[in-house]
Symmetry: none
Subunit: 317 residues, 6 copies
């Protein structure tokens, strides 16, 4: 036995990885599986149908109920609370418990509450005290009761362009830390009769569009996008209201606030894009360089990262 159990702990499982430590007043039931190099702190309770990966930290006062899976490198803050029954009644048991999965690298903040049947995406961050009622996508930061996405982890703020920088009427193009992503500012003419903003394809926008689409009536708590294109180029304009856009090339990530009809964001192929924090009146106009082709979409972030890596290792790309 190359793992540690505190003398005041109660560890009934033998399925514990090397280097793992189980501390005082913790209680692990016989069926639980815990990986290597974990830290199970004071007072933690682990039921039987539970799987914990390697390098996981579970702070004090947490319970892992039947149905909970923590992948590698997960962090669970103190008193964070899992559940496995959506409508609990004493002495009434569901046929099967709802399953909860926390993907690799994600963190659950202190005293957060996770409703049953939820998936917390890779590298996501649930804020302290959050009450999570819906699944959280990869890298997202979710806080509040109920929890809402307020940002994305590890976004390079150097790429962020705040709106006052772009209020100059003279047009221009501003590069970002994300490969190929550019923020365009167009001239506009405003007078008593209204305002007019003009952009020219190929001259100002680096492609000729094959498609446009308009996204509108998006509830402010919604996230859209969350995919990449293999070949298609896109150009985004918030023609009304404002939208936050996160662009990610697999290495760097940056956030842009589109809030003027004369601002546009260019997303080259192989850019993971996310749109969220739509203002109530937002209308997002997107130009795309290609016709719709479902095979052009990469919809899983893991697959996107793999594709990026394979591209980088292939010399001719």
């Amino acid at each position: 036995m190359n793992y540690f159990v505190h003398e005041k702990a109660l560890c009934e499982s033998e399925n514990i990885g090397p280097g793992t430590r189980i501390w005082a007043f913790a209680h692990v039931l016989p069926g639980a599986r815990i990986g290597a190099d974990c830290n199970i702190c004071d007072g933690v309770f682990v039921e039987n149908d539970v799987s914990v990966g390697d390098h996981v930290t579970v702070k004090c006062g947490v319970q892992l109920w039947d149905g909970v899976t923590l992948e590698d490198n997960v962090f669970v803050g103190p008193n964070a609370t899992f559940t496995n029954d959506i409508r609990p009644r004493s002495k009434q048991y569901p046929e099967t418990f709802l399953r909860t999965t926390v993907e690799a690298g994600a963190s659950i903040g202190a005293n957060a509450t996770i409703l049953p049947g939820i998936r917390i995406g890779r590298n996501a961050m649930v804020g302290a005290g959050a009450v999570v009622t819906r699944s959280v996508p990869p890298n997202a930061i979710a806080v509040g009761n109920p929890a809402r996405i307020v940002g994305y982890a590890d976004t390079r703020t150097s790429g962020k362009v705040n709106s006052s920088d772009t209020s100059k009427h003279a047009g221009g193009i501003q590069k970002s830390v994300v490969r190929g992503v550019q923020l365009h500012t167009f001239n506009f003419i405003g007078d008593m009769r209204g305002s007019l903003s003009v952009g020219e394809f190929e001259r100002e926008i680096p492609f000729s569009p094959k498609r446009y689409f308009l996204v509108y009536d998006v509830p402010t708590q919604e996230t859209r996008g969350e995919h990449a294109h293999l070949r298609c180029k896109q150009f985004l304009i918030a023609v009304k209201g404002s939208v936050h856009v996160v662009a990610d090339d697999g290495e760097n990530r940056a956030q842009f606030v589109l809030d003027k009809p004369n601002m546009g964001l260019y997303l080259p192929p192989m850019t993971w894009g996310i749109q969220y924090r739509y203002s109530e009146d937002a209308v997002l106009l997107v130009f795309a360089s290609d016709f719709y082709d479902p095979s052009d979409y990469i919809r899983e972030y893991d697959a996107f990262l793999e594709k990026i890596l394979s591209n980088e290792s292939s010399p001719e790309c």
Copy 2:
């Protein structure tokens, strides 16, 4: 001793019912009274002036302080937190602790917080992570911080009438699963000059009114009604905005969304009625068949259930 105490638990009370199990690192003080067939999980702490009924489940990490009563069949989720002092200061003690009662069959969600002096009604459901600052009526479902009622448990959705079903201009009467409760749709005439909705007493509405009352300016988080009448018949119309009405005959429960001036809901005597989710601009018009008589009101749901039962067992009723 026909109850179980884990070897790592500390049970100082002997007032424990048969079949009850007390698990590791739990601590029960001498004055506590715990009923039969309960489950007191790891790490639970129970003070002296505490009363727990039969078939109660208290999950890990919960404390039951002096002044807490859990009636039969209550469920308390993990890390749910009770209190007994509204303005706690260290080393300053109130003369008497505020009392908290969780009525029979109610459930407290995981990591919920219950402020002191609160009553959680029979069969109510407090959501995970909710912070309960006011008493919760029987059957109500309350979530959020602060907690608000968002529904009623075990409401038969077969009785629910959504508004599109009633938009037909031709009037009609629709029965529900609740004994005697009927949803009326009246003719209305709408043109450029406005809309007109007409109802006739005795012809369309099954009584002649002695009283009307108007309920308005109700904050959206308020619940009104929550009583039954012994003899008085009522007819409810949301003349502006929308109101949710739950009707309950002691056996079946149904929810109705009143959101049109030409919809009316008939509640016969011996119907438990609840109005809630008033829209900001809601005005509820109620016709009553009798003048006001306080002795006609049943204001406690338990008393209502008892009266129903006694009526059913009396052959001549």
Copy 3:
């Protein structure tokens, strides 16, 4: 010829009543009929198919086109302009001209414009500069472009009850100058949970209802009502928003602003009632003492006045 024609006038008609004066530069075509004791001022032009009653004043710069009828005691201000073709094009003539009637006692303000096909009701008052695009009911005062009703002429303000007078919570009944019309203020109970207003039939409201109706979604420029009942009693409550009600017993007229759910207006039989100035959110609740009976309605103000007179002259009524 017992009427006067100024030497600079041109009067080609002989159908002119005694005492009438026709002034300089006026021009009356042969077919026109003008009553007694009229004043046709400088520069007025009167076509052939025109009928003018007795005691009518037509100020300078007015034209009376084919199709215009002015009843007795009408006043037409200077430069007020009539029309008889809704889409005039040069040298294109409609088959028949639209007819315009100004009923007895009405006044047309200076420089007002009257579109074709309109009836200006008895005793109505069109404001100076108004552009009248729809018929104006009896006694109404209409101003603006397009003209809207802003009041009723000769309304006794002693009968007007402003809202601050009725804000007292203690209920009460206030008589008015109009026979039998009473403004009721009901008790109401208001607290943090909302407001409740209650009324009792037969005890507080002087009849037991056979019908209710709800009037809502009325455009603010609309007038509703404008009729009397032979036998039916009515009780009006603005359960939301505000409505102006004019009540008229044929002799006295009073205006009431209903703007609180705990205010109700009782209209006895043989009361001419008008509702107008509906606020955007107004819902008017009306209780009626009888089922619907079309023969109970008097829809013409003239008929109402006649009925009042015949009632007064009949001793047994």
Copy 4:
């Protein structure tokens, strides 16, 4: 002299066309030129520098000041008032009077006021009592104070597409009575997360755009457009709010209400287009097939009609 002057009229000009009649108390100064078959009614005053075409009707009480031109078939209603000095002061005279032109076939409603320097377009209709402060385009109907365009005369309603016709989610193309003008309805996907509308260039929209422009913050009373293109194709979408568009091929005219982001209107070259009745929040997106080229614009409706006629008579077009 083959025209008629009433014996009470004063006609000092001899430049009067055959068949024209000048009625009592009218006064025509020596320099005025009046065409054939006109009707100059009682009390009209005509100054010297005035030109009136053929078949014109001028009703009573009108003055035609120096600088006023009425083209053929114009109708001027009674007491309609022209002006020729924008800031009149007694005894101060502008160097030249502002000129007012009423183009062929237009009508001026009764008692309307026309500010100086204004052009009333061919076939336009000024409403009774309107105060016209800006030029009125051809065919437009203008009413109110100040006058606003509320429609276009002789617009074929068969070409009008009301919004409920286009609410079907399946996309489609609907032809209109105007040559080549098509209303496109695009597929859209709407769910709780928002709505998505997609359109494809060259596949669905019959060109590839060289430019887009966004029109926004337009006061609701403004009219935009009012021109045609020789070669450029356009595609219009109201991405927010609503816009009325009138399209005219010189022969037929139709009005479209764009009020959904998934509706688009295709305007081929040689289509006279008008946009008006912008809602307060409207944003109009326009795709154009060509880069900006001022020589591609036809800005005068008469020139547009001429070009249409010359195209039709040229066989190879």
Copy 5:
């Protein structure tokens, strides 16, 4: 008789000044008094109790009723219409007619309507087609139905400062054409917690205040100010919303739009100041250099002009 009466006119008065001309179809009653060098055009009608000054122009189709006074240099446009009875009824006459005065130099636009009992101030300009329901102050320009002030005559636009010029964050002082009047722009600091604007008396604002006042809840159609101070200095800031300010030194006049909390306008003594076009939410903060002293106010524009002249002619001032 050194005035001209057209042979087709009817002039019954002999109280006509030299050089005055009275044209065809005009009719002047015996009691009217008309000054020198006037022009009374075709079809004008003048009653008895009427006083007209020198150099007055009255265009065609106008009537001057008993009670109307036109001071020197007044212009009355064609078909403009006066009144003298607020509630006219045929054959009912008020005891005395309401009086209307048009002060020296004012102009009444074509087809305007002037309600009875109104005073049109010196040099004011009533727009064509306006319906004037309240008195108009000196120099004001009023248009619409009902008429509202939209500007002041002869305001030097060179002194107008539009808001974009002052949006630069660096503070500064901008002179105007009006003697001593200066527009200040202050630095401001804005961050996530809000914005902070700071100004220093004596350092930045050229006096130390003795008083401040706040003007708020002003309906958008209202004009405030309209006075000058003999000694008091003022400094105006629109701390919320926007206000138009006209400043006038007796020789030059300029208008300023205050619409930012970091803009302030300095008014030295002997400046005639007017504030109007308050936005709905406007709050105007005024610093004054002196305590309130009613003898410091000049409330009549004529008196202000006289004082300016006497100051200029006194060498020591």
Copy 6:
């Protein structure tokens, strides 16, 4: 050893004050320092770099992590949760943990969550279930997720002036329980044209200002102020919207709701002032008696209390 450790507890530190009790399943690491007369309840976990003062209560289920300091008389409710890493990831440790300090006398409600790096001010009260994301100032009461200040503890309500008391139009000065603080009500004149409020410096406001500042666009959750001045006097007016102001002389504390432009609050030197609950549209105008001088500010409440005490003990002050 004059402190108590329950037989089931694990106390590895010897740095425990007299009278302190450590209860079952609690675990104190060797480096922790705990003062006298404390109560460390069941299941509490205390790390090494932790300092606990005297008379502190820590209820069940709480962990005190490295970096947490609890000063004397602090209360920590059950399951309240501290943190020390703002972006926790498993097996990644910050160079230093963020420190959390709960100042003397403060209370943390049951199940509250305290984010890292936060200071809870002296005597503050964190509500049950609150999620505290920013430091809480002395005496403040904070509730909700995220926690917002809703009041201040021990505020003398006798000093509170509700707005209805000050609605009298006649001006006046009202003293408060806080030394020198006065609420001024100024005369104002309100009529149909708007309202005017006037205040005079030195006469009504007890100083002549050297500076003014305007605070606006403040998010409703922000608190501003929270400092005292040594010499500078201030006068506060909410010229738009409403602001809550707490004034504190070190002995008494009072809250004022400024919600009228004609109300002003005078704060003499050595008054601790707090502004919060800004309404969305609030603009706060502040007059200051001195130019800006950073050395005049006392920014720490403790320093303020000390200064007050030293002033009181110095006879000449």
